[in-house]
């Protein structure tokens, strides 16, 4: 095993150089000083998202987040964007199922302006009526485009079939009929779920740690603590008890999307690393691992065919995707399911495991080159409680996984007879 020592490089974030502090209102901040750059990146998350949406108003969290940059108590739409765009800074807000996210970056000189805009947007949005209507029309057009997108439709149908009525099965950006229902009072009501309690902020860039702490504290300490709205109660998630096959017809498309899979481990589960390595052998390594070898290299059926682990805080999804000609959908599904069967029958070889281990350890530094990469990694460290020495201990975590563990964990999740199997695209000729 070579190169594992590169993770001890002194420039990598670790317990020795990551700053971590908490504000009295509950915000936890992680910061890293990268004086090689000329800019700073900030990323953050709040405990509020689409899971809070009423069923007839799905999309409210997404709508609210998108409205934050349309006006706040100190700046109107024009002023916000003039401040950002004139200096090449950027800022976005978005909603996920359980969180609301923000991402921003600027040159060093403009960072105080960026922090102030984030604060004003989160704490004092004005939700101007004209922008509610404008944004609604933009969303509705976006949903019409989504309806014609084979990848998006396959993914939506997959989530619905796998997660059912749990919020993970419901698209955060809503449906046309629910977007039409959302009014100003819904945005105001949703905004009340925003709280500094449990909020996380990660910052990486070209300022000393003390200065980052000073800037963040002076900007965000004024956000009054309010009790976060407790998370709604959701239905339990169960893996499918038999395979489910659904085709979503979209006429006029040259290529169909296949998405199949089942539940996978949560990010914090002890099963995560064995499944992560197993998945890498199965559908990632080199050109899409074993799946790519079969579907792309040997059969020439697809430009892309891979598997992925989508590890969420309390559950996950183990997914297989391919884009193929409508005539080849069934053949490709059989090939992928055969690869899964084969994978579940015997342990991955020592060579396969070793290749994936070396690859994952070797490429880690590439994810930590930019401020955006570091800030995102810091946020994950805090969100999933990975420890400030996560990068220094990463090689050990990866190297201690065995083929037998991978086999046992994989069999606990994957069952070739119990998969959600979705295709989206034109009907194959024989179906006409």
């Amino acid at each position: 095993m070579q190169n594992t020592n590169t993770l001890n490089h002194p420039n990598f974030p670790g317990a020795h150089n990551i700053g971590r502090f908490q504000l009295p209102n509950g915000i936890t901040v992680l910061a890293y000083s990268n004086m090689y750059s000329k800019s700073l990146t900030i990323t953050g998350m709040l405990s509020s998202g689409g899971a809070w949406d009423p069923p007839d108003k799905t999309g409210t969290a997404h709508f609210t987040a998108s409205m934050l940059l349309r006006g706040n108590a100190n700046n109107n739409f024009q002023e916000i964007h003039e401040k950002l765009e004139s200096v090449g800074a950027s800022l976005t807000f978005s909603a996920g199922t359980k969180n609301t996210w923000f991402n921003g970056r600027s040159l060093v000189k403009d960072f105080p302006m960026l922090l102030a805009l984030i604060f004003d947007s989160l704490t004092a949005p004005t939700f101007p009526e004209a922008y509610i209507n404008r944004l609604r029309n933009q969303f509705l057009t976006g949903l019409i485009i989504r309806d014609q997108d084979t990848q998006e439709k396959a993914s939506l149908e997959y989530d619905r079939a796998l997660f059912g009525h749990h919020p993970y099965g419901i698209p955060v950006d809503g449906y046309p009929e629910t977007i039409k229902n959302i009014q100003l009072e819904d945005l105001i009501r949703h905004h009340k779920t925003y709280s500094p309690q449990d909020a996380l902020i990660a910052i990486a860039g070209a300022l000393p740690l003390e200065q980052i702490e000073e800037l963040v504290t002076s900007q965000f300490e004024a956000w009054d603590t309010v009790s976060p709205t407790s998370e709604p109660v959701f239905p339990e998630i169960h893996a499918p008890t038999q395979s489910i096959r659904i085709h979503v017809p979209i006429e006029g498309k040259s290529q169909s999307e296949i998405q199949l899979g089942t539940l996978g481990p949560a990010r914090t589960s002890p099963d995560y690393y064995p499944a992560y390595l197993g998945n890498h052998v199965l559908g990632q390594f080199g050109l899409y691992g074993r799946i790519g070898k079969s579907v792309r290299n040997k059969e020439g059926l697809a430009y892309y065919a891979y598997s992925s682990l989508n590890a969420l805080p309390e559950t996950g999804s183990w997914e297989f995707n391919a884009g193929v000609n409508p005539q080849n959908v069934e053949k490709t599904i059989v090939l992928i399911v055969d690869e899964i069967k084969n994978y579940l029958e015997r342990p991955v070889t020592k060579e396969e495991l070793s290749d994936s281990q070396t690859h994952l350890i070797g490429r880690l530094p590439m994810s930590l080159e930019s401020n955006a990469g570091i800030a995102s990694a810091l946020l994950s460290i805090e969100r999933f409680d990975l420890g400030l020495d996560y990068f220094q201990s990463y090689a050990d975590r990866i190297l201690k996984i065995t083929p037998e563990e991978i086999l046992s964990v994989s069999n606990a999740y994957l069952d070739p007879e119990k998969l959600v199997i979705i295709s989206a695209g034109a009907n194959a000729d024989h179906d006409h």
Binding site: T6, K38, H81, S86, N137, I145, L287, Y303, G323
Partner: protein
Amino acid sequence: MENDIIVFKLQNGLQVLLKEIHTTPIISQWIWYRVGSRNEKAGIQGISHWVEHLQFKGTDKYPIDILDQTISRVGGVWNAMTHLDWTTYFETLPAAEIDLALDLEADRMQNSLFDETEINAERTVVISELEGNENEPLFHLNSAIQKEAFHVHPYDHDVIGTLQDLQGITRDQLYSYYRAHYQPSNAILCIAGDFQTSELKSKIEDIFSPIPNTVHHEESIPQEPSATQESRINLQGPGDALYVQIAYHAPRANDPDFFKLAVIDSLLAGPSPLVMFGGGSISNRTSRLYQALVEKDVAVSISGGIQSTIDPFLYSFVLTLEPGSDPAVALRIFDEEIERIQHEAVSDAEIERATQQAEAMFAYGSENITNQAFWMGYSSIFADYSWYENYVASLRSVCSRDILAFSQTQFAQKNRIVGIYTPTQED
């Protein structure tokens, strides 16, 4: 030595650019070939991109089963891209593994096998890639515009090629094309990262100097004459959304006018992203077209895009409209903004703003070693590295009077193609 660029040329014509960066223990190597869809003639459209795929199919030294894992198993990432003017291959990997990347690229510059069975398996993979593109309405609209814009110059077709040609291209054609273009004198090797220049330089000389240069490139590409009238294209297809694309013939990257266009791009549509890895984009909500079209509820989004190319290509705008909109209304407002650029002087503050946006984007992009190596080769394709280094200064030197004069010809109606994609009407 750190952050200085070292440029040299080997006897066989291979151009080399090196930049030491010691922030993290990785190295990014890029090899660029001056071949892309610009070099393709009728009947072999898509061949440059297909050859790129076949460069991953093995040599005697690195047979296919080994080649596709070689870089990954040492902890590296690698990929390749084909565009109008170039084909490029990169490996970003732990610094200690650079010898492997050097050896692999030197080997496949001359020894790729182009096995018939692999070629046929890859034929359907490339066709699958084409089918994926064909799912997108804007792919069809853009293709139609390129075809309409160029009657003589080979920028008339998509890099991916046509189904007919992809079905017909033979092994002999692929191999001959590879041998004709994958020559040291037609290549640029760029490496950035954690190395010592003198040591790496001698390795490069040892590994690449023995490769003979057997073909000399004097290819003449026919130049497109000036357009004489505006063209209009109407396409229909599935879906409900409506798109308008307006493409103007645009200056080559190495033309001083290119920088005037970059300033105008920033004003009209927000600056086009300048870097491919980690540069990202800046929103365009204060741009003139966003203000006139999106803020007035005429369009739901607008974008503009300039491209840095060897020969004059296109500067395109895309407007996405709500279903049922009248594209003529959007076009009329668009034209009013174009007339404004042609007749009202742009302020110095607006030029400075475009400059600051570029400065910020370069700052973000320079955080990433892969991106720094990319820029050395990319700019060398259509100009030289000083084009990249002087980019911000070139923007700053643009003056308001220049923009006014330039806009008269650049945005003349005869210089453009207007394409409209409308949903197919159900009977």
